[in-house]
């Protein structure tokens, strides 16, 4: 799996730590960290929750053009 740098950038743009974002979307810090590292395959609802918190869409944060 691949790192999700777009998520990390969006999070930092909102001046949130992994722990702070985690609390907002009601998961643990580890879950956010692992998603950013590309070691998890998150659920759609969690992705949507993260997007709404960061004012982004699924395509913004979780869509990859390349293969």
């Amino acid at each position: 799996m691949m790192k999700n740098l777009k998520l990390k950038v969006a999070r930092v743009e909102h001046d949130l730590s992994q722990a702070e974002l985690a609390k907002k979307v009601d998961v643990t810090r580890q879950t956010i960290g692992l998603i950013e590292q590309g070691k998890y395959n998150p659920s759609l609802q969690l992705c949507i929750s993260i997007c709404k918190t960061l004012n982004k869409t699924l395509d913004d944060l979780f869509w990859q053009e390349e293969d």
Copy 2:
């Protein structure tokens, strides 16, 4: 959870049955059926796989504007 009518429409536009789409994305027919019924919270990778098969993006099929 809410039904995913956009997925069903996109699938039908491609003239695929639930079973045929399932085979293409390597899950079971039940999984596709339950996603369409909104009874599952699919993984991001499965969503992406479905999108690529149906020539759509995540926002096209899995993003909901309303709340």
